[in-house]
Amino acid sequence: MREGERLMTICNSCRYCEGFCAVFPAMERRLRFSESDLNYLANLCHNCSECFYACQYAPPHEFAVNVPKVLAEIRVQSYRKYSWPGIICSAWLVTALGIVFTALALAFTPRTSGGDFYAAISHGAMVGFFGALGVLVLAFWCIALVRFWKEDQSRPALTVHAFLDALKAILTLSNLSSHGAGCTYPDERHSQARRVFHHFTFYGFLLCFASTSVAAIYDNFFGWRAPYAYLSVPVLLGALGGIGLIIGPLGLLALKMRRDPRIVDARQDGMDLSLIGLLLASGVTGLALMLLRGTAAMSPLLAIHLAVVAALFVTLPFGKFVHGIYRSAALLRNVLEQRHRDQGQHRGER
């Protein structure tokens, strides 16, 4: 935190980076930096590192300014602070969870062949388990969101326009665009690679979610039971989503391996790798299940897939996934601050 304050003071009297992303203009709106300010700025940072490469004070300069690394360190602390009950899990925990779930699922799943999922695992068990898990995840996310949001003392009024602006920044990752050149990840050359692979992952996840939602509607409102035809909406959405969840995490992993070590906070590798691994595993097992659902491999594959998804669900409120929650909230807060200031200036001019 001290280090964050020191850096922000240097940055605030330099300001060369203000054209890069939302972090620097947000910093310039402040003269002092409290813990909650730093947590907000840290979550606004997309960790692209452009400011590191452009910094005249980057190490080995004696000022040793390394904004992306310090903000990454503050960010993970902020996850601990706002996420209830303050547990952030690493790759070890996730691996253990994955193994336990898989073993349990395999042990209790009867071997059946043919395409009937519910012959392997009963409809009620599946819906009940994941329904409960889903509600819990949502509850934990809401708690985290409220705790993060309450830190902002000014709390300007929310408007639809602000929501839409923030949503656009979230959905397009405009802060990783650097005016169309792309961000400096994994090294100092500009590239859109990280943004593109994140899009694959993010939209892959959303498509899988959409697939499940459509399937739930089919099931509950129309009484149409899975498995659905290959050209049905849930299967098409799920297949596209699964492909996204294979290409995206693999790409992000490859980039991460080549990341400039000067900027990496190595203690977060476990957290990053857990999420990448679980998303990738969900994609792979999901696609495999779809392709092999008519064979004898169906029931063990279903068990493994559900176990992986269950492990993913359990870590959603406690793992790297929460970055999306806080980043989205920070982007919204940023839009509100900007609008507030623009209106203030407008009044001032008159």
């Binding site: 003071t9 240097i10 605030n12 009297s13 330099c14 300001r15 060369y16 980076c17 203000e18 054209g19 890069f20 203009p25 310039e28 003269l31 452009e50 400011c51 490469y53 452009a54 910094c55 005249q56 004070y57 980057a58 190490p59 080995p60 300069h61 004696e62 000022f63 005016h179 050149a181 100092e188 050359r189």
Partner: protein, 456 residues
């Protein structure tokens, strides 16, 4: 032991803006280019890595206005022909720069007054240098870091080769032509002392510690015609707590016109409100350098806090002028007397620090012509000031081809100069924000093209 020898068509000595512009241009004219940069890779780019903008002629900032601005700050110590070349090429240069990866952005926060005259680099000068180095790598230009030129074969204006220490080992460099763009001597305290005497001991160097003037000296020793006064430099008043070298932009203080400035005796010595700050900041380095101990203090009250970009170092604060003076190590009586006399002579007016307002003193020597407000609202704040040297103006004489002119008046056969090493031709004294980058870009490109021609 056999020494390593490297050959090329055009050898570029230096690694800042002018050097890279020359290297890229020479390469595009078909020359095989070798760049030798004295700094290691992390500190490459000379003083350009601390810059943020370049003064450019535009539709709204025409040649005559630009020229008049230059004439005023230099007091006529300039070469009109070369200066107008730099001014005219400046607008077209931005197109060339973009073609080599440069990116621009609107004027930075707190610098809106420069929005019309200066093009700001997205991310600042280091980002620009990174883009140029990436472009150079793409074009196949070879770059040696940690490579300091220590000797040259240069007789009668004909360059044959040089010796560089690369990571401490001598390497022979052979070239058909050379571009010299290795900066001035501002990081060479010994040389500064020759010009300024012992006072130079108290100077801070705002930029790169690698500009030791060795290449400038080699050129002068080899018979290049000097131009400019060794005592002239771009020097501003910076926070006295800044590091000796490389403190860059965050050490600057913009609050001087909002208060008063006193020296070690606790007395004022110059009109703090003479003109708008962007037009006056460049004289304060020299003013402080002329004070006893080369130190001064800017004193403001809490009324003006928030009207200037904060410095990286916190202000010294106190609830009374006497306590403030004591905290600064000054005589409480003297500073109190100075403030009292100042406050008594302030005439009423409408304060506006963005224009030349009518807040001034009457019957005070030296006067404060604008933005004079009584310093009466505690807490009182002070920042210590020292001269911060940005770059020196002693240069080698060049003609319009950036060709170095020898003492006998003839241009050298295959030697060219760009950037700070020849800026003294155009900047005899004073400074215009962002003009160093203009000279570096325009004459860097000229020097590169001409060197490639000379190498054919």
């Amino acid at each position: 032991m056999t020494e390593k020898t490297l050959s090329c068509d055009v050898l570029v000595i230096g690694g800042g803006n002018a050097a890279l512009c020359a290297a890229l241009s020479a390469n595009e004219c078909g020359a095989r280019v070798l760049v030798v940069e004295a700094a290691p890779v992390d500190f490459r780019g000379g003083n350009s890595r601390h810059t943020r903008n370049m003064r450019c002629m535009t539709d709204s900032y025409g040649e005559e206005e630009y020229w008049t601005d230059l004439l005023r700050v230099t007091g006529g110590h300039t070469d009109e022909h070369l200066a107008r070349m730099a001014i005219r090429s400046s607008s077209e240069s931005t197109v060339w720069m973009k073609g080599h990866g440069a990116r621009f952005q609107p004027a930075l926060g707190g610098t809106l007054h420069l929005g019309r005259t200066n093009a700001f680099f997205l991310g600042g000068g280091k980002a620009l240098m990174n883009a140029y180095y990436q472009a150079a790598c793409k074009q196949g230009i070879r770059i040696l870091y940690n490579a300091e030129v220590v000797a040259m074969k240069l007789e009668g204006g004909a360059f044959e080769g040089a010796t560089a220490l690369v990571d401490g080992d001598p390497v022979q460099l052979r070239a058909k032509a050379a571009v010299f763009a290795a900066g001035g001597f501002e990081a060479n305290l010994q040389w500064l002392k020759e010009a300024w005497g012992e006072a130079a001991e108290n100077f801070l160097i705002r930029g790169t510690p690698f500009n030791k003037g060795r290449v400038l000296k080699l050129l002068l020793d080899a018979g290049a015609e000097p131009v400019g006064d060794p005592k002239q430099c771009h020097a501003v008043a910076i926070d006295a707590r800044a590091p000796k070298f490389d403190g860059g932009i965050v050490t600057r203080l913009d609050c001087l016109p909002l208060g008063i400035v006193v020296n070690r005796e606790g007395v004022r010595f110059y009109d703090e409100g003479e003109d708008l700050w962007p037009k006056r900041y460049a004289i304060w380095g020299r003013l402080v350098a002329e004070q006893p101990g080369q130190i001064a203090w800017s004193i403001i009250d809490s009324k003006v806090v928030g009207r200037f970009i904060p410095s990286v170092f916190p202000a010294v604060r106190a609830d009374s002028i006497r306590e403030l003076a004591i905290a600064l190590g000054l005589s409480g009586d003297a500073v109190e007397a100075t403030i009292r006399r100042f406050n008594e002579s302030v005439r009423p007016g409408r304060f506006d620090h963005n224009v030349l307002d009518d807040c001034r003193t009457e019957g005070l020597t030296p006067p404060k012509s604008h933005w004079a407000q009584a310093i009466d609202t505690p807490p009182f704040l002070a920042y210590p000031l020292r001269p911060g040297i940005t770059f020196t103006y002693l240069s080698v004489k060049v003609n319009e081809s950036a060709n170095i002119v020898m003492r006998n008046g003839t241009p050298g056969r295959n030697i060219f100069a760009a950037g700070e090493l020849m800026a003294g031709n155009i900047l005899g004294q004073g400074y215009l924000a962002g003009f160093g980058m203009t000279i570096g870009t325009v004459f860097g490109r000229i020097a590169g093209r001409q060197a490639a021609l000379a190498a054919k």
